[in-house]
Symmetry: C2
Subunit: 277 residues, 2 copies
DNA sequence: ACAAAAGTGTTTTCCGTACACCCATGG
DNA sequence: CCATGGGTGTACGGAAAACACTTTTGT
């Protein structure tokens, strides 16, 4: 697909992100970087095994106030000190990348583990440019997560030097390492997945109206949809949503109360819900 | 998407695959595996940085005699000695995963580098289960490549102990490590990509007929398509194929000679070419 | 009574499907 | 002249886009 090819970037998490992450602090100086080719005169010895650091990066999206937001953390240590970055961290020794992503997500957002356990979490892509991280060779597996609007966003960790904050994707400035490219890829993928999967419900609370579901599509796609047609399409897709006998009122104080739905058992959308144009 | 979750498997390339790969031979005993949690009594030290080996695995597909084939190599060393496996290998020190995949593909297939340079190569997924490889912690980035039917398949390397062979996917037996899961994922992805991208032409020689292109779809999908409708859809997709003023005869000796086409500049298919049912 | 949001119906257009038919070539 | 494969035309059915209309609430 697209080749963001972010050249001079990196993604290794370091000692930043407050004391709550002390359990996975990394002392870069302890790393055996002596074999890295960058520190050898010229070329490398092909017979030497090169150890890599492996991390996960997370593009976590939610919708707040009709805008798509992503979770960013502020780096406290060089490189890129003071810059915003995607949450993430190193794989533990006996932990898969997805397990690591789930663990990091729980740590960063403070969500209960039970909620994180059955969360939409999709592997996006692996970023492996040799100079992603100026310090060492880091290969990072990026994941995308879609979460409902959380009452307390990521306010855990307190008002420390290392903040974590929901940021509207439209106002995201330059990010550390190649995280801008990762974020762009995640946005592309998320928009595309809405077309042929049921992931849109992941943005919604357990019970939601069709109007809220439509707002998810409109927010991510940046387009307006015809309400009657959207309604028909969703209800015609078996297993996309299941009705809840009961109604509630939303999106403003007035208007007819809307029926409530839960996400259905289906994961893919047949036929797809194509975006306009 | 799907979660193959291959549990007890691995993917590290070792000293197998003939002498032509000597440049990247790996002596497992030289690896610093002392820190691996599997060799410690119980649990692990979260503060210790764990070095990972990073490899690429390649699911290379071609169509020969109306059957989808994949390129497999036979392992000469334990673990899984004698078993077939996907081609692949370790990342070099200053090499991205895609570069490594391209290099390995050139080495395994013996294709000229120029041809490999502008080849369809798509990152599939990264496999990181902790026990993928019984010897050590290996994270593998899997790629999918689609190539035309090659005159000399993978006959380079000679009749050595380590063979490389095109195998019909229908007759693939058990594979080493989690390669069966990777192959299954690659098949799923390839079938899906035919629907909304132009990658099908990657299976074809530079000049091809619409009948050959249709056979690609029918072979990968295992379904028959209506020829007139297929023709219209392809020609209606701008940039999918471009006509060549000239004709040739094919697929048997008789019948009207078919017009020839080259692949066009487009990469995505609007509207998509959905498979039946 | 009016505004705002949910829900229903209808028309028109377009696309996918199925299938009939003609063309060119080899045996 | 018949089998085989390439290429064209066309009619039918269903889905999607556009839009008018009804229903139910709050103010």
């Amino acid at each position: 697909m697209s080749t963001g090819s972010p050249a001079h970037d990196g993604s290794a998490r370091d000692v930043s992100r407050a004391g709550r992450l002390a359990a996975e602090r990394l002392d870069v100086d302890r790393l055996d970087t002596g074999r890295l080719a960058a520190e050898r005169p010229e070329g490398y010895d092909p017979r030497a095994f090169e150890p890599f650091a492996v991390t996960v990066d997370l593009a976590v999206f939610t919708i707040r106030a009709g805008q798509l937001h992503t979770l960013l953390i502020r780096r406290g240590e060089p490189p890129y000190a003071g810059r915003w970055a995607l949450p993430g961290g190193f794989l533990h020794a006996r932990e898969s990348a997805e397990d690591a992503a789930r663990r990091e997500l729980a740590e960063e957002t403070g969500l209960p583990d039970a909620l994180v356990a059955d969360l939409q979490l999709e592997q996006l892509r692996t970023y492996s440019a040799p100079d992603r991280d100026p310090r060492m060779r880091v290969v990072s597996v990026a994941y995308t997560a879609l979460v409902p609007d959380l009452p307390e966003p990521a306010a855990s960790g307190g008002g420390d030097a290392d903040q974590a904050r929901w940021t509207p994707v439209a106002t995201v400035g330059p990010l550390a390492f190649d995280h801008a490219a990762i974020l762009a890829d995640a946005l592309d993928r998320t928009g595309a997945k809405l077309e042929y999967t049921c992931v849109a419900t992941a943005f919604c609370p357990p019970e939601f109206t069709l109007g809220e579901l439509q707002q998810v599509y409109e927010t991510v796609w940046g387009a307006t949809l015809d309400r009657p047609n959207f309604r028909r399409k969703v209800l015609a897709s078996p297993g996309f949503v299941t009705p809840v006998p009961g109604a509630s009122r939303l999106t403003g104080g007035r208007g007819k109360p809307a029926a409530l739905y839960r996400r259905g058992p289906a994961t893919t959308l047949h036929p797809p819900l194509l975006r306009p144009r």
